[in-house]
């Protein structure tokens, strides 16, 4: 599966946030987006599943090609894109009015894949993939809010997986979590990359070092450098990259 971005520009009203981004993602791998606050990495990732345009006055130009199909084509609806490109957010956003089971089942129910027994299997499979099944299998119908922060984030991951996407976007998924939960999720990402293509935004450079195959460095809305993770950190080509990874600014 090929996943490329061509000449992507994005605006919030009149303010431009992304300038001519061109990137290519390998399938079944993890790519990390790093950069200082406000550099556009979250904006970029939100353009990949057409969530950026949900903001009033937001605008995108350019192409995002999944298997050579431009998701920004006129004929394509954003919600169909989102069935194939899932997203995990910074704050765990489980739906409080629903049970654990119903949270995970949301995606299949929305997209019409909710046939009785298949659904139960799908929910179990997603929860296992998210390393949450053992902890919740006895209380599937309890409200999702009873779970801890780390468990809720894994529930959000299970919910995204249940939709059976090809690509998973993660916008700083661990920044609201404690170190133990963070570690659990990083291990999870390591397993998930065998199946899915993952793009993860992180402000934590060491996390990028731990989980990502390739890393992209953003600054002021532009891609400064993109390389295999260990090379980016040990032998950065651009001065800005070197300054950032060595902590001269952040």
């Amino acid at each position: 599966m090929s996943f490329t971005v061509q000449h992507l520009n994005a605006w919030y009203g009149r303010k431009q946030a992304l300038y001519d981004v061109n990137l290519s993602f390998g399938s079944q791998s993890v790519t990390a987006m790093i950069g200082p606050s406000g550099c556009g990495k979250s904006t970029f990732v939100r353009c990949l599943n057409r969530m950026h345009e949900e903001i009033p006055d937001a605008r995108v130009t350019g192409k995002v090609l999944v298997d050579d199909v431009d998701i920004y084509a006129q004929s394509i609806k954003p919600r169909h894109v989102r069935q194939h490109v899932g997203m995990v957010f910074q704050q765990p956003n489980v739906l409080p009015t629903r049970s654990i089971f119903d949270n995970v089942a949301m995606g299949p129910r929305i997209n019409g894949h909710a046939h009785r027994s298949d659904l139960r299997e799908l929910v179990e499979r997603s929860l296992r993939q998210a390393a949450l099944w053992e902890e919740v299998k006895e209380q599937l119908h309890a409200p999702a809010t009873q779970l801890s922060g780390g468990q809720q984030q894994r529930l959000c991951i299970a919910r995204t997986l249940a939709n059976q996407p090809q690509i998973i976007l993660m916008d700083e998924p661990c920044s609201a979590l404690d170190p133990i939960s963070t570690l659990q999720i990083e291990e999870l990402i390591d397993e998930l990359k065998q199946i899915y293509t993952i793009v993860i935004v992180t402000h934590n450079m060491s996390q990028a070092g731990r989980v990502a195959d390739r890393t992209v460095f953003f600054l002021l809305g532009r891609v400064i450098e993109e390389a295999e993770t260990s090379k980016l950190f040990s032998h950065p080509q651009k001065k800005e990259t070197e300054d950032y990874v060595s902590g001269r600014f952040g």
Binding site: N49, M51, E54, P56, R79, H80, R82, Q83, G86, M87, F89, Q91, N93, V94, L95, P96, T97, M106, G107, I110, N111, C156, R159, T160, N163
Partner: protein
């Protein structure tokens, strides 16, 4: 007053207790005045309310019995009877009003909160705010002109319509406020799974805001139950049984108004009881809503 440190030390004065100057005394007096006045006025306001409630309760409770809720008013000041049709009428009118007020108010709120953008939405919001401030007798006049006059009869139907229009902006504003409180992250969770806006609104946003929405609706219903002016030229009132909504219909507020001005003491007594029942109705509505929603315990 500037003194050197040694001077201050000599006078054995405490920096945290300045010696009483005229200014200091004035300041303390002004401060005390504010506290006393504020407390006094608060007690006055509450006192008026309590006096009113006690007056109505004490005068009205004497004639509160089962007959009051079931029987017709007796003619010309004969003792006995009740306000059965009036109470029934109020319930019917509020029911009719809700059929108009709830859907229109709810969908206006959904438009303003979820979809409305730019100048049109701002105009709609401003107009809705304006409508909440319009004297309710004008809605009565509106219903008079478009329903009562063409049909050549007073009717419960026109009264219900008038009350319904009054309900719309109240429900719209409270619902919009509550919908806006639902965090954006929950909408994003739904949208990012591929849901449409409609599904997100009805399956995620509204359930999350439901207790607030219900509170707003019940309070709007209690509010229109207490309206009198718009009913004067629409439902008009009657001392007979309500038979059809297309004929004049009685309401508690109308009966209380009518009987208060009556020359017969028995009817004036009944008016107090009617006022009491009205107050009780509203109190029950408020407390039920509070109890069911745990004082608007937010689910997020």
């Amino acid at each position: 007053m500037s003194t050197t440190v040694s001077e201050r030390k000599n006078s054995a004065s405490n920096p945290f207790k300045p010696p009483p100057s005229a200014r200091e005394i004035q300041r303390q007096f002004n401060n005390g005045c504010l506290i006393v006045l504020a407390t006094l006025f608060a007690l006055l306001a509450v006192g008026v309310l309590i006096f009113l409630l006690l007056y109505v309760i004490l005068n009205g409770i004497r004639y509160l019995n089962l007959d009051f809720f079931t029987r017709l008013p007796t003619p010309n000041g004969e003792p006995g009877g009740g306000m059965g049709p009036a109470i029934q009428g109020t319930l019917i009118l509020v029911g009719l009003a809700s059929l108009i007020g709830i859907p229109l108010g709810l969908f206006t709120a959904i438009y303003l909160s979820e979809f409305g953008r730019g100048r049109l939405a701002n105009a709609v919001r401003s107009l809705v705010d304006l409508l909440t401030g319009v004297p309710t007798i004008i809605f009565g006049l509106f219903a008079w002109v478009i329903i009562v006059v063409p049909q050549e009869t007073f009717s419960g139907f026109s009264g219900g319509v008038a009350l319904g229009i009054i309900m719309i902006p109240i429900v719209a504003r409270t619902t919009e406020d509550v919908l806006r409180l639902v965090p954006r992250e929950q909408r994003e969770a739904s949208l990012s799974l591929g849901a449409t806006e409609a599904r997100t609104t009805f399956r995620v946003v509204i359930p999350a805001a439901l207790s607030g929405i219900v509170t707003g609706i019940v309070l709007a219903m209690a509010r229109v139950a207490g309206e009198t002016a718009p009913l004067l030229m629409t439902a008009f009132g009657t001392t007979f049984r309500n038979t059809s909504i297309f004929e004049p219909m009685d309401a508690l507020t109308l009966r209380v108004y009518n009987f208060t001005l009556s020359p017969y003491q028995t009817q004036v007594n009944q008016a107090y009881t009617g006022a009491l029942v009205l107050i009780l109705l509203i109190l029950i509505a408020s407390f039920t809503v509070r109890w069911f929603t745990g004082g608007f315990k937010r689910k997020f």
